[in-house]
Symmetry: C2
Subunit: 346 residues, 2 copies
DNA sequence: ATGAAAGCGCTAACAG
DNA sequence: CTGTTAGCGCTTTCAT
């Protein structure tokens, strides 16, 4: 490994001079500079970032801790973060908490031990409102940007997220505009703030349209295709006369679609279906799915912008980015003669 | 920041003693140990991995450099790598080369500057057979595990990949077994070794069945849905009388499906279609797609196993993991009376 | 069982 | 413009 001393010896100057040249510090004779640079080049010198960090206290290291960076949303965010980080001269550490609270804690300890300058955190939903490790992050002055909906115990952190409630209400309004009055909702896990927000958006839109949420139209699904399918079977079993179904996520919607299509129902002729999230390929789904496009990459960029502010010691504020309704083939006008619609009108 | 000295002072012992305790080194009085541990705990001591690394030369840092870690395959691999790395006491750096050669080089320089102990590399296909930066990696003794098909300039590195040629020939054999004789192939970019291997597998299966590759049935598609669609339009325009179409990837297959379905053709009644890669949701595609399931997570695990060997200075060998044919609804028996089939039989 | 000295590779602070 | 000194937080080596 080539060190500064090696170059210094070769060039017949002090280590300090070499250090200055290689950092482009001022007050160096042009001739010296050229000579040192050439020798460094020739020897194939590669600076030791660790040693620099040790001295300057700048690790130029950021980290993201998330339950699963392979999911379509997070992986796009990681892409944006790593890309921007690189351009800003930082490196990005990736750590998976696998939805396990103690694993998340272990990841965070690692991150502390690496003396990262900033942390992007997708917190695991917890039941317990107190989270000592998060307090510790705060205490130690780690700059934290929370990604996604912020649970109560993340209050002190800046956050960046899509406006789930708003986007979800856009979906509901779209269905209402198509004449649907009985819109079922396939809900996500109650521990997930994102899922909650989407349900909130649905309720809000209904309320604004002068309708009340009918509990018999709300089904607990979950996060997976399977759970979506199960909830839809239940919906059918219970003879819930909905003309439209709004799902908490595209995955759940796909499960619903499977069941509906298997029943011989046509989308959107017999029933409309909407998802949320615009996962890749929801476009090329059996019936191209009306959904919400989350600005994933933009979320990453926004998060990094926040981080830059924090790194400069500037105040940073949380952001809600608007998500966009994408109307495709799975939603259409409500069947005109539908009993339930009539009833609602009456 | 609490350092060893701080603990030492509190405990009335030397820094060395504290260091020993915290590393579980032998020859420490039980009483001292207990006292130091308790004080460390109480002060919230977090070791400085950088400083440790500086002294011990073990950075406990690994890195992955890939064109785009958000693609479905790579993101799963990253998941496996980060997870295993964590369990082995390593952290993982993620760096995106964005399909740009000079960016890849910049990423690799960063990785060198961080003194990572090992590197997972998804190389960008290059036309030029020489790649100085890769030679440098080799020279500097960085342990490298190549992911995916290994281009010629990566020869010196251990690699882990799915056996694309074999899996691709499984697809072709499946179509042959269904009675298809005129099987079109939608090929990928000629620079991609993976795409090449898949084409090879197709040819090999045909040859083994006593058939020759008909160049008029091979269409250059690419990597995207769009390119798949374009190639399929071309296929139709040229009146290529194929009864089955094998695509280099699921994305390309989806493009093909769009065109075929738009033409009013039924899958698999009129024409069979197979993809490759088993991207999420190819199962819930308009017509569930026959495809090849790549053992993505397993690839990550295998790569890490190789890395462990390298880190121990042990020899490691390259691995080809078998990929599995997944038969779904898009492939079926060849239309019995088909002219082309008849012609082949005659 | 514990401590003192030295140094990993680099740079801040000060001197000349 | 260039060099000297000191030290970042830790551990190796050698002493006691």
């Amino acid at each position: 490994m080539v060190r500064l001393v090696d170059i210094a010896r070769q060039a017949g100057v002090s280590v300090m001079t070499v250090s200055r040249v290689l950092r482009d510090a001022p007050d160096i004779a042009a001739s010296t500079k050229a000579r040192v640079q050439s020798i460094a080049q020739q020897l194939g010198y590669v600076p030791d970032v660790m040693a620099q960090a040790m001295r300057t206290r700048n690790t130029r290291l950021l980290a993201i801790v998330a339950p699963d960076t392979s999911d379509p949303v997070t992986s796009r965010i990681v892409l944006a973060l790593a890309e921007r980080a690189h351009d800003l001269g930082y490196d990005l550490l990736v750590s998976q908490s696998r939805h396990q609270i103690d694993r998340e804690e272990a990841c965070l300890r690692r991150v502390l031990a690496r003396r990262v300058e900033g942390l992007f955190l997708c917190p695991i939903p917890r039941l317990d409102p107190s989270a000592p490790i998060y307090l510790e992050l705060k205490q130690r002055g780690v700059r934290v940007v929370a990604l996604g909906p912020k649970p109560p115990f993340c209050e002190p952190f800046v956050s960046v997220q899509a406006d789930d409630a708003l986007a979800s209400s856009k979906v509901t309004r779209h269905l209402l505009a198509l004449g649907h009055r009985r819109i079922a909702f396939l809900a996500g896990p109650s521990t997930s703030p994102a899922a909650q927000s989407r349900f909130e958006g649905y309720r809000r839109a209904l309320r604004e349209a002068g309708l009340e949420t009918d509990d018999r139209l709300v089904f607990r699904a979950g996060e997976t295709v399977e759970e979506g399918a199960r909830a839809t079977v239940q919906l059918i079993d219970e003879r819930a006369t909905a003309t439209a179904i709004q799902a908490v996520s595209d995955l759940v919607a796909m499960g619903a679609a499977r069941v509906l299509l298997d029943q011989g129902l046509r989308l959107p002729h017999d029933v409309s279906l909407a998802g949320y999230g615009n996962i890749p390929f929801s476009e090329v789904f059996r019936v191209p799915l009306t959904t919400v496009r989350q600005p994933k990459y933009q979320l990453g960029l926004a998060a990094m912008t926040c981080m830059q502010a924090l790194l400069l010691g500037a105040p940073a504020s949380s952001h809600q980015l608007p998500a966009e309704l994408v109307i495709r083939a799975s939603t259409g006008p409500a069947p005109p003669g539908d009993v339930s619609t009539a009833r609602c009108h009456g």
